[in-house]
Symmetry: D2
């Protein structure tokens, strides 16, 4: 239904003609003749796509999917030949026939001025289409593959964003902050003062367009609550130099780059940059939300905890849950009220911390785990500390009863942490370990 409204097959001749024109331009761009004039034709392709009615865009992606797919007969012949004799000649032929022609089409579109930007914009449309029509996955894979190669971190510029940055750029930071909303320019300014930092990745072809950015607080200890980091207050001159860099927000700006790894590189590059500037920094950590906590805990059935978990742990968890439900309701919604009012008793805080720790340390290795946890743990971070009452904003209470978590980035153990995570183990601090 929604699909229909999004991509109505208009019967109008005009629409059909526009689509046909675009397809012919694409074929011309891919043709032998087109190679001599590709930048000019590519510009025409971009213009034609831009003018295309939204509902025709879906049809265009269908064209990419079917008309510009690999030829299965040739693929099979080439695969057989390679299996018989895997020499240079045959592997090259194989690669040639397996690569969908639409990849070369995208490479040629990229030759036009503004080509990269146009391709990202096509991908945005494609991602919408994909939601409705999963068979577009093959087309999307080609976009993703090329964008991943072009937005390789080796090609990205890391730039610090501060109060001397262009207003047009800062406005984008305000608009795209996805974790702890920036309400206005005063709020932004607080996050750009000397004890705060903001870094973004840029691509040379998209100047002034941040792709992803991270906000960092330079503090004295691993932070326990978000309020202390983002409240608007004059940064006071501090005699003691900071020892901890806390990443408290990381936001993507470009939906058309979904699936292209940027965040993990950004965190590590920024950590290196800060370490080089301030050798006195001893620890790099995050203060992160747990957006999946409340949904998981609210719906948790203590009877069906995985048998692979230690019985003792399961019992403890079931007990905690029972206690909490008796006081805060079956869906535990009362916890949010109490946490918001800062009136959660110490014992219940401990119970809540226990539940959150288990969620992070045991569920995050499964696809049902918290997405933020999965991102950082896959990145090689260590699960460090659970903080109760750390984010009492409406969103923080709604999503996670106000609980936040610190992940620790220890550059020397990133690689082994990541490997253990891939094999199903979450590396945690002793404190978390004791609870899980």
């Amino acid at each position: 239904m929604i699909l229909t409204s999004l991509f109505q097959r208009s019967g109008k001749a005009r629409t059909a003609a526009a689509l046909k024109d675009l397809q012919q331009l694409c074929i011309r761009l891919l043709s032998e003749a087109g190679t001599a004039n590709s930048a000019a034709i590519a510009s025409e392709v971009i213009a034609a796509y831009t003018k295309l009615a939204p509902e025709s865009r879906f049809a265009f992606f269908e064209f990419l999917d079917t008309a510009l797919a690999p030829d299965s007969d040739r693929v099979l012949r080439a695969a057989k030949a390679y299996a018989e004799k895997p020499d240079a000649e045959r592997v090259l032929e194989l690669q040639r026939v397996v690569e969908p022609p639409r990849q070369e089409l995208l490479r040629r579109i990229n030759r036009a001025p503004g080509g990269t930007s146009a391709i990202i914009s096509m991908r945005r449309d494609l991602l919408k289409a994909l939601r409705e029509e999963p068979r577009m996955r093959a087309v999307d894979s080609d976009f993703c593959h090329l964008l991943g190669s072009w937005f390789n971190p080796g090609f990205l510029d890391l730039q610090q964003v501060d109060w001397g940055s262009p207003a047009a750029l800062l406005e984008k930071i305000i608009d795209h902050e996805a974790v702890h909303a920036i309400t206005d320019w005063t709020d932004l300014r607080r996050r750009l003062q000397p004890d705060r930092r903001c870094f973004a990745f840029f691509h040379p072809q998209l100047p002034g367009e941040p792709l992803i950015f991270v906000e960092v607080a330079l503090v004295h200890a691993i932070p326990r609550s978000i309020e202390q980091l983002i409240r608007v207050a004059a940064a006071k001159e501090d005699a003691v130099p900071p020892r901890v860099a806390a990443f408290y927000s990381i936001s993507n700006c470009e939906p058309g780059l979904r699936g292209v790894s940027l965040g993990n590189f950004l965190i590590k590059r920024v950590a290196q940059e800060l370490k080089a500037e301030m050798p006195m920094l001893k620890r790099f950590c995050t203060l992160s939300p747990i957006p999946g906590l409340r949904a998981w805990l609210g719906g948790l059935d203590a009877a069906s905890l995985p048998e692979t978990w230690p019985a003792k742990l399961r019992n403890r968890l079931a007990g905690a849950l029972k206690e909490l439900r008796s006081r805060y309701g079956d869906d535990l919604s009362g916890i949010a009220d109490a946490a918001g009012a800062r009136s959660l008793p110490g014992d219940d805080q401990a119970r809540l911390a226990q539940c959150a720790a288990v969620f992070l340390a045991r569920v995050s290795v499964t696809p049902q785990g918290d997405p933020v946890a999965r991102f950082h743990l896959d990145n090689g971070a260590r699960l460090e500390r659970v903080n109760i009452g750390a984010d009492v904003s409406e969103k923080g209470l709604r999503e996670s009863f106000g609980v936040m978590v610190n992940y620790l980035y220890d550059l020397t153990s990133i690689e082994s942490n990541h490997e253990r995570y891939v094999h199903g183990e979450v590396v945690s601090s002793r404190q978390i370990g004791g609870m899980t």
Copy 2:
């Protein structure tokens, strides 16, 4: 033999250990664990490669060729599955198994600072190895494929090079000028005066490193000789604005990018740039060498001209050749002397022009044709005019009896010219047409 000297299999344990270390680093970089720390490992790979003895580099490329090639069994299975049912799932699986793991290795190496530069430098070594060992073609194809994607013209910056450019850049221009050598800074300066232009392509990751550059003369008519363009003389103020932009030299600076198309894009971008700056420019042409002319003409056997050529043309050519040989020797070397002394009689000039015109108009469609001609014709240029005595430098006489040629770039017919060339036809001016 040369191979041996280049890549001596040293029995030394040290060399073998260094190679093994590098291979293990590569495997680690490609491994699951490596993904969390790839930029750091990539830097180690680059350092290890740089320290590798030249003779071990060949062994490293062998490792890429064999250990990091596609798995033929999996390829065959995936190809059969795709042939049965060509859906998104299966085409993706097919692409996944066909892509050699060394491609992903290169993409990850590129994540390190200086990664792009390191990969180009590897490719330079690889091209040397390839001369000796053609089976490396598959490995080279992967390098070429990725570099082609990364050095897509859409990612390149066109910059004008002039007397305000850094000396370090100008020095590279002097060093890499491949067509008409720049003898010193005075010579260079003449080529950067207001009636001359120089443009180069740069990649954002390689600042200050021109990849390819072109030199242009702004003149009043299609030029007949190179001397008028490059001799050192004060550019005189000219009341009449120029009407012709003549490309008289195009040089690649980076051997590691061989096979990556840059020249064709550069010429067209520069033509657009100049047209935008000086709308009074009416024609864009070249004054180009014909480096293959003397070798072809000297060894030409009039009896074995292709039967597909008109008999009349063959007769005329045979007659001209006979006349010339009677006067200038079997190998025609006397022509170079006479042309150098500017004492070639008018009739013999016409005969030489006829031969050159045929060489360009008829042989250039075959792989035996002149490489410069094949470049411009494939680019969509038109064969415009043959110029006798146009380059009487030692090199000009040695390679082409001093003959040069103009190719004309008419932006409106590039596409059709190219297509006709691809189908075996050279588009020429009426003058050339009459001779061929």
Copy 3:
């Protein structure tokens, strides 16, 4: 009294010692020995001044006034010698002895890094002192003389300020807007949209510090009200190109540069810049406040109008005033209410316009005239049109009953307009002429 509070002669030895140190540093900087190390000593002078208590600063200026003044005996001798024989030698000697040593002191302070900024800051303090103690005028004259030479428009950079400018700069624009306050960033942004312009003068030694800026609206006709220029609304794409550039706000940012002409140069440079960019612009005008109008009109005694004015005009004015006072009170405050409510009858509008026109056209040639009028008329502008109800903001009603005025900058008649103004004549449009 206020003076006492500002510059209390503290009995404290510490303060006296600090002052003495500074004076000795100044003498050392001026001494022969100091010339070899002046930049370093100058930095010490700046540091010592900065640390000086506010009340000691006055004493420091007294020191400049008395200890570093010209020596009257030597001045007289030199003047006599010059009168006897005005040759090169003697004029030089005369100049040498007449120049107060404090000028050379300031020039040497300027050699330190940050010297210019320090001198401007001293001048800010001096201007405060001057309010209390007019005899500091001689010292201030030296500051003003040197700053005028250093901030010569030939040394200033004109830069456009737009949404791509650094936020730190835009914040200064918001803070210093003196005519029509910018309430927030949204308000600012409206003034930086494509149909609005903002230009500022910068000095190379004070990067990022706008000295003065002007805001311009690109419109179709000479504007009648400020609201149409500054209200926050999306700028609509306009098919018709603008024909009029209206300067609607000009603000100084640096009080320490009072008396240094910047505004007149800025307006003319911006007009040239805009004309070069948009040759279709036909007229350059202002929409200006009349801050002195209400005070003048409210207190006007019709009986004592200058006898030099035509009797007819005096009668007309007296009549209008009487009418207005009968309806709006002796102090005319009712006009502000009526204008604010947009309920001023047409006849009274005409009367008010008549009064404003006379004020601008006749009183502006006297020191009692409106300061904004005197600025623009002295600049060579023409008095163009009086606009009733043009600024109904609280400030606009309070200062000028909401009346505003357009001045016209016609680059070809600036010089003669200025000259006529200097001789006591205001050049006006026919409309204004008819009323005055």
Copy 4:
């Protein structure tokens, strides 16, 4: 005679008319009316001056000298008034009438685009005129006064010049090197390698135009010969960091700024810059020519040495001179030959060193002293060491028998050294002290 040829009073009416036009433009620029349009009129003045025939320029300077001089009657009146009562009012009036109107003229010319450059160019002409006509000194003093204020070191940018600098800038360095000529780009490049530095002062109004530059060698000990510093040789990687920065050449680029102090500031700024970059630098010295040595020593009459010198010293000097003359001729020209051939016996080297030391330590306090010595000593440097055979180039032998000298810049004693020099005493090392 030369004067006549330079400034021939042409009878031609055209010339006279051009001059008169220029004078009227100047008067208009200075007039009341001109203030409203001064930038535009200033541009006209510049254009009119540029078109003026060289011989009329002299007449223009005469006009500045006479027509735009202070009014002697008003000067006298103001001086008397000030002598009676030296208050703010009267000192201001005095300054007003003493300042020649030509100063204000220059300030207004400076308002035009390119004004500063035009004024410097006028000064170049004026300096030529001054050679012939000393009474122009008063005019020149006004130019010099204003240029000194505008080219205050606080307004100058210090920039490092290296191989990444624009070729157009490097060419100016080659052209203006005044001490040890740079023969070509290879020679220049050697002076820009990592163990050499070049710094220049720039003015914001004259971008790309170095005003003065200094060349520095980073070495291990105070250098004894120029050859080791400038010979073209690959800079070898050096494990030991440099401890000495040796200034071996300082050259002015702009003759129009003669008399404006730049060199002394440049040396000290560069020393600070280098010290900040390389804290291991322990000493800052020069290796300087002694251009006046041979002329002084060749013509020295031992009988007429100043009686104020110690008798013992006079005797020693007379003895050395006699010995040297006996072997190398009365004019000592044989020394140059022997020094050039590196065959000067050790004893004669000692005698020559003695003479040079005395010349530098005793004669430099008089106007007859060596100009380079006077520059550095006045700057606060210490006379450190005389080096025989230090510059055996043709110029070095011709001017100073190949002798060079080191001056030492010790930032802590600059001020006192300068003061002692001003009072007639040259501060020297113990070694020099022992000889003088």
